[in-house]
Subunit: 303 residues, 2 copies
């Protein structure tokens, strides 16, 4: 762990190192679980595309803030990215958002076909739980902690979490919803998995209840800031650098933060949320510098 | 446990009692996880329809053969039925088998809509893992055993198990495949979850490696016998009593056991498989009578 007081923290470098770390770990899992099948190719195609790896990086970084990264954190980070990728594959399906472009390449159902995309999503979700419960993991982490991770993750992404958020998103198309409903939808659709990523990293690094409490406040605020920024990017962003289409929220008559309060106020709101997140980090020492930088990055990013 | 030597075993009664037991346990989970949402209604609609509950009953019965049913077995049985129901919802989708009728009622995407059906399937799969990792369960079962159950289940239903079986099934439509390929496809598509159901029931009841070994042989054989009989029912069965359409394999040009070897030889083959299963049960005492009766039921059933 570098000393961030004497050396100014370089976020782009930090992200590049962590992205490579996550990609290598996922490639390693895929080589161990290799199968020469179309299903496997589709899973690999979507998972190994150039994602930001934001959620697994949050998981790793949360672990580093309270302690250090151990192999169980790496497994969990990979499982989290698998879950995120499954949710993208299913959200992009013709029956859902019907998107053609994702992570700078054709979506899974365009590159392969619809049944393959449905099954590749199912299989990535399932593989996440297989990874979290590998027998080898018991040599580096207590089974009761791994079981707790399975629970935190499944609850966050289930019928009162991420999936319900996606359901609300689809059902809300063409309907004007208010600020609180919009916040609630995003708290489920995006926030729940982001919060779980931080929570899981923390508990796998043996965080105290106090540390978990402050990290949860941090995660809740950046989760929402992330979505507000996504809405802004959908208006102002460049499709080339985002790797997906822009302007789609308006076409689909989706309620968005800029739609409710305008772009300028949305940017202010995102900044307020990041300020709340930074405030929660003041509980920690300078080990939390990467999390601060990540919070600022969330609203400054171009993709 | 009744004494099956002095009282002849009554399978229909046994199945009715166990079905009610599973349905009550699932209703209990649903009342605890209740949400007043369309997503939740769709999950409940498909899960609580009149299924045979074959897999959860196998799980419970396997536990009884080696020991007795404890609350962790009940949770696992419910999780297994959730996984099975998710697989049916996704298999029935327009992009997959495009079926309108299931368990005697319109399929989930017909009753609700396609995005709701995709998400209800995702949510049932996810809920299965949430149930298996509930914190309360640690008061009745060791966390390392529950984590092992998560692993057995996720592996059985993943990209080298059930999902790959479904992928092969779709890809094989219109293609004539041989006996070994057909067996391999069904070993994954149907066999893996049936085998996992028995395995999970056994380990949650603290089975010995020898007991698990013999139960696995039993499960592998009845899993295949189940599919051979399904193929026969697709030709000879009555759609009313099956609660789904018949004749669909031929319409879809699917390879089937009767298609490869004729109906008469298929029936003989199913009987041979059941004989193998019964042979494996000779390792156990008369506590295994329900499993014997279930094996015979598999090839005699009308739905």
């Amino acid at each position: 762990m570098p000393d961030y007081h004497s050396n100014p923290f370089n976020l782009p470098e930090y992200l590049a190192v962590k992205q490579k770390f996550v990609n290598d770990a996922m490639a390693d899992i895929f080589s161990k679980h290799f199968a020469d099948t179309r299903l496997f190719k589709a899973m690999q195609y979507s998972l190994m595309a150039s994602g930001k790896r934001f959620r697994p990086i949050l998981c790793l970084t949360a672990a580093e803030v309270v302690n250090e990264i151990n192999p169980s954190v790496v497994s969990a980070a990979c499982a989290i990215e698998m879950v995120h990728t499954y949710s993208l594959i299913h959200d992009d399906l013709p029956a859902m958002d019907d998107d053609d472009l994702r992570r700078g390449q054709p979506t899974c159902h365009i590159q392969f076909d619809e049944p393959t995309a449905i099954l590749a999503g199912d299989a990535l979700l399932t593989l996440a739980f297989e990874i979290l419960s590998l027998p080898e993991i018991s040599s580096v982490q207590k089974p009761q902690i791994m079981l707790q991770v399975v629970h935190i993750l499944s609850k966050a992404i289930g019928c009162r979490g991420m999936i319900e958020g996606q359901m609300m998103d689809i059902r809300n198309e063409g309907i004007k919803i208010g600020f609180e409903s919009l916040k609630q939808m995003h708290a489920l659709k995006t926030g729940a998995l982001i919060e779980a990523s931080v929570h899981i990293g923390a508990i796998l690094a043996d965080a105290s209840p106090d540390q978990i409490h402050h990290l949860s406040i941090y995660a809740r605020n950046i989760g929402l800031a992330f979505q507000v920024t996504d809405d802004i990017l959908n208006i102002e962003g460049d499709p080339m650098s985002m790797g997906k289409a822009s302007g789609t929220d308006q076409t689909r008559l989706k309620s968005t933060f800029p739609g409710l309060m305008g772009v300028a106020r949305s940017k202010e709101y995102a900044q307020e949320l990041v300020n709340n997140a930074l405030q929660a980090l003041s509980f920690f020492d300078n080990k939390a510098i990467p999390l601060s930088a990540l919070a600022n990055y969330i609203i400054e990013r171009k993709r």
